[in-house]
C-alpha cells in the first residue's frame, strides 16, 4: 500500500505530468516567432535536466532511511557505480542493466 493506490492523487499527478510534456515540447512551437530564447536562459535550461535527475538519483543511492549510507554494505550503491562505469565505457544500455542487476544480486548473496 502506497500513495500510488490513491486514485485522485494519481489522476491529478498524471494530468500535471502530461501538461509538463505538452508545455515544454509545445513552448516555442506555439509562441509567436517574435519571442525568442535568451541565451542566458537557454544555458540555465541546459543544466536543469541533469541536475534534476541527479537530485532524484543521489539520495536513493547514497542514503538509507534518511541518513548517509556510504558503506561497503550499500549493495545498491556499488551496483549503480559499477553499472555507470560499464555504461560510460561501452554505451550499451542492455549490458549496463545486466551488469548492474548481476552485481546487485551477487553482492546481496555473497557480500
Amino acid at each position: 500500500m502506497n500513495a500510488t493506490s490513491h486514485w485522485g492523487y494519481m489522476s491529478l499527478a498524471m494530468v500535471g505530468l502530461a501538461l509538463t510534456t505538452v508545455i515544454t515540447r509545445g513552448s516555442f512551437f506555439m509562441l509567436p516567432s517574435s519571442v525568442t530564447l535568451p541565451s542566458r536562459l537557454e544555458r540555465a535550461l541546459r543544466y536543469a535536466p541533469a541536475c534534476a535527475l541527479t537530485a532524484i538519483v543521489a539520495p536513493g543511492v547514497f542514503t538509507r532511511h534518511g541518513s548517509l549510507f556510504l558503506s561497503v554494505h550499500n549493495n545498491q550503491m556499488w551496483a549503480v557505480l559499477i553499472a555507470a562505469g560499464v555504461f560510460a565505457l561501452k554505451r550499451n544500455m542492455m549490458l549496463m542493466m545486466a551488469v548492474g542487476m548481476a552485481a546487485f544480486t551477487l553482492l546481496r548473496l555473497f557480500a
Binding site: A3, T4, S5, H6, Y9, M10, L12, A13, M14, G16, L17, T20, T21, V22, I23, T24, R25, G26, S27, F28, F29, M30, S33, T36, L37, R40, E42, R43, L45, R46, Y47, A48, P49, A50, C51, A52, L53, T54, A55, I56, V57, A58, P59, G60, V61, F62, T63, G66, L68, Q76, V80, A84, F87, M93, M94, M96, M97, M101, F104, R108
Partner: protein, 226 residues
C-alpha cells in the same frame, strides 16, 4: 532509424518494467506511458509518487527534467512555423529526444526550412519512435508482473536514469553543477515535502551557469537522451 528504433525499444522495455517494479499498478503504469510520453520524467517522478510527495513537487520535477524540450522546440520551430496551429501542437508533442536528434542531425543546416520533405521525414521518424516506445513500454509493464521480486528489478529505474545521466557528465560546469546538486540532495534528504530536491537543483544550475565561460553560448549542446 533501425539502430535508434532498437535503442528506443530497449529503453521503453526497461522503463515499463521499472514503473511496475517501482510501485505503480499495471493500469496506472499504462496510463502514464500513454499520457505522459516522456521516459526520463516518468522515471524521475516514480519515487516521488510512491512516497506520496506533494503534487507541486512531482510536477516541478517533471518540468525540470523536461526543460530540455524547450531548447529542442526553440531550435526546430522555424521548420514548422508554416503549419496551422493544431498541426504545430501535434508536431511539437512528437518532438522528443529521438525525433529531435535525428531531425536536426539531418536538416540542422538546411537553408530552406519547412518543406513537405522535411515534415515527411519528421513524421516518419516520430511515428516509428512513438510506436516502438509505446509497444516496448506496454510489453515491459505487462512482463514486469511475471518476474520474481527478488531479481532486484526495483534497481531498474535507477539504472535507467543512470543511462541518461552518464552522457551528461561531459563539461566541467555541468559536472560541478551535478556534484553540487547531488551533495545537497543527500544533505537535505530529511527536509519536509521534498523541498530539498528543489533547493539542490536550483543551487546546482546556478553553480553550472556561473562557472560557464562567457563565450560558450555559441557551443549549444544538444543532449539527446529519452
Amino acid at each position: 532509424m533501425a539502430p535508434a528504433g532498437i535503442a528506443i525499444a530497449a529503453w521503453g522495455l526497461v522503463t515499463g518494467v521499472a514503473m511496475v517494479k517501482g510501485g505503480l499498478s499495471v493500469p496506472m503504469a499504462l496510463a502514464m506511458t500513454i499520457v505522459v510520453f516522456a521516459g526520463s520524467a516518468q522515471l524521475a517522478v516514480l519515487p516521488l509518487l510512491v512516497s506520496g510527495a506533494p503534487l507541486p513537487i512531482v510536477w516541478a520535477t517533471a518540468l525540470l527534467v523536461n526543460l530540455r524540450f524547450v531548447i529542442f522546440a526553440a531550435a526546430t520551430r522555424s521548420y514548422f512555423s508554416g503549419l496551422p496551429w493544431k498541426q504545430r501542437l501535434f508536431s511539437s508533442y512528437l518532438n522528443g529526444d529521438v525525433g529531435f536528434a535525428l531531425f536536426s542531425g539531418r536538416f540542422g543546416n538546411a537553408s530552406e526550412r519547412g518543406n513537405p520533405y522535411q515534415w515527411g521525414f519528421f513524421y516518419g521518424v516520430a511515428t516509428v519512435n512513438w510506436l516502438s516506445w509505446q509497444a516496448s513500454s506496454v510489453a515491459g509493464i505487462l512482463l514486469a508482473g511475471l518476474a520474481p521480486t527478488d531479481w532486484g528489478l526495483e534497481l531498474a529505474a535507477v539504472l535507467a536514469l543512470v543511462a541518461v545521466l552518464v552522457p551528461m557528465v561531459r563539461r566541467l560546469p555541468a559536472v560541478l553543477g551535478m556534484i553540487v546538486t547531488g551533495v545537497l540532495a543527500v544533505a537535505t534528504v530529511r527536509m519536509p515535502l521534498k523541498l530539498g530536491l528543489v533547493v539542490s537543483v536550483l543551487a546546482g544550475v546556478l553553480v553550472a551557469v556561473l562557472l560557464e565561460p562567457a563565450d560558450s553560448s555559441a557551443a549549444v549542446e544538444k543532449q539527446p537522451t529519452q
